[in-house]
């Protein structure tokens, strides 16, 4: 049985990007140009996902392996929606919620860890400096990772 959460609407309303979900009138304009709807084998559909948020299907949407992770972040739905729902932002807001529960994909978590600890998405090696010098570029300066660490939370460290 699908579990319905009656306060999911409120939670989305207070999560950045989720605020507009209840303005959806189910027109389906977001579906036609959605590449994930075209390529999904599981029936990914931004209109249905927004409907599920309105109904309160929190557990289905936030569980591990949720279909929301099939979104490509292409922003076509953002362009098309006449109600300014921004389905991709609603999806991203739910991804933020999933991150809090740690039901988001492992790959996402490890990429975020890299940014938090190294200040970038890729790792510096000696080869990078050599390549840069070969191209006539300066070697890279140290990244102020301590600033990033400081900004991760509201709390004083």
């Amino acid at each position: 049985m699908v579990e319905i959460s009656f306060d999911f609407k409120e939670k989305l309303d207070t999560t950045i990007g989720g605020e507009m979900h209840s303005y959806c009138f189910q027109c389906g304009a977001c579906v036609g140009d959605c590449p994930s709807a075209r390529y999904s084998k599981r029936g990914f559909n931004p209109r249905r996902i927004v409907l599920q948020t309105i109904v309160g299907m929190e557990e289905v949407l936030l569980e591990e392996g949720s279909i929301i992770w099939e979104c490509t972040n292409c922003y076509n739905c953002y362009e098309r929606c006449p109600q300014d729902v921004r389905p991709v932002e609603v999806i991203t807001a739910m991804k933020n919620m999933a991150a809090k529960r740690e039901t988001n994909p492992e790959d996402v978590r490890s990429m975020v860890k890299t940014v938090e600890t190294k200040g970038m998405t890729t790792v510096l090696t000696a080869l990078v400096d050599k390549r840069r010098v070969d191209l006539g570029l300066k070697t890279l300066k140290e990244i102020p990772v301590s600033d990033i660490q400081e900004l991760l939370t509201e709390k004083e460290r």
Binding site: N73, C74, N76, A93, N104, M120, V123, R132, L137, P144
Partner: protein
């Protein structure tokens, strides 16, 4: 002498670490069109608009705002070379300009490192700066070896154009900016069926992006072009290194060289293939180089 325009370049980590040949191409070509790049210290990852944004949007906005602060302190506008950095910094700028409460929350955190975001500098992808500030005529004037007859499949990628309300670059359904820049260097932009299809890289289900990449490469292959031209290192990743994986997976050979616009501009300005690091690509552009030599 005409007035030189100054910008702070934000190369981001993908370009400066993974694809420094793009940085070299930008630096070597921009000096010839009258754009002065003023390097500033202290930038971090933008941070990335897919993984980081999907984990904690408030922290994403805060770290991005910190990067914007660095340019604000110098009083200079930012120009970006990666669609991902463009998305993060432009979206941050937009949201903080339209949501006073959000800006306050971000500034509360920034205070911990002694910074305050005010919203005084703009963020523009470098192709937009070329079109709007420098002028395409300056690009034309910098060409010494026009790439006549070179057929280039245009690939826009998603985040340069969308959300169009925020990015303010071009009509996302009928963009022309890259076509105009290619024509400026004598090349022929070529449309193909999957022109505006997403590379799919952000999708966490592996088969879907593979199929999308395969469809785009197949669509390009049908048009008989010399290369794919693009402006984003993430798209480059999907089609250069990615092309090898996709060729193996789908047992199809494509041999489509993938080239960053500023590398093509460099060739047209008389730079050597090594100057712009074309020798660092996985799909080697030899037939193309023979054609433009």
């Amino acid at each position: 002498m005409s007035e030189e325009k100054k910008y702070v370049p934000f190369f981001g980590c993908m370009i400066s670490v993974k694809y420094p040949q793009f940085e070299a191409a930008v630096r070597k070509t921009m000096s010839k069109v009258g754009m002065t790049l003023v390097d500033l210290d202290g930038f971090t990852c933008c941070p990335d608009p897919i993984y980081f944004k999907s984990s904690d949007k408030l922290t994403w906005l805060t770290i991005a705002a910190r990067n914007l602060c660095i340019a604000e302190e110098a009083g200079l506008d930012i120009t970006t070379m990666c669609s991902g950095c463009t998305a993060t910094l432009s979206e941050t700028r937009y949201h903080l300009a339209h949501d006073e409460a959000l800006k306050k929350r971000v500034n509360q955190r920034l205070k911990k490192i002694g910074k305050e975001y005010k919203g005084t500098v703009s963020v523009r992808h470098i192709v937009t700066v070329l079109r709007d500030d420098i002028g395409i005529d300056k690009v034309v004037a910098s060409v010494v070896k026009p790439l006549n007859g070179l057929r280039v499949a245009v690939h826009y990628g998603c985040h340069l154009l969308k959300p169009s309300k925020i990015m303010q670059v071009d009509d996302p359904d009928r963009p022309t900016i890259l076509e105009r820049l290619l024509e400026a260097i004598g090349a022929e932009p070529v449309q193909h069926d999957a022109n505006l299809l997403c590379c799919g890289k952000a999708c966490m289900e592996p088969d879907m992006p593979a199929q999308m990449t395969f469809d785009i490469l197949t669509s390009i292959k049908r048009t008989d072009v010399d290369c794919m031209g693009l402006i984003c290192p993430t798209c480059f990743d999907a089609y250069d290194l990615g092309q090898i994986k996709i060729s193996r997976q789908f047992k199809t050979k494509f041999d489509i060289p993938i080239i960053y616009y500023f590398q093509l501009l460099g060739l047209a300005q008389g730079l050597s293939p090594e100057d712009v690091g074309l020798n660092m690509h996985k799909i080697m552009p030899e037939p193309l180089l023979a054609k433009v030599a």
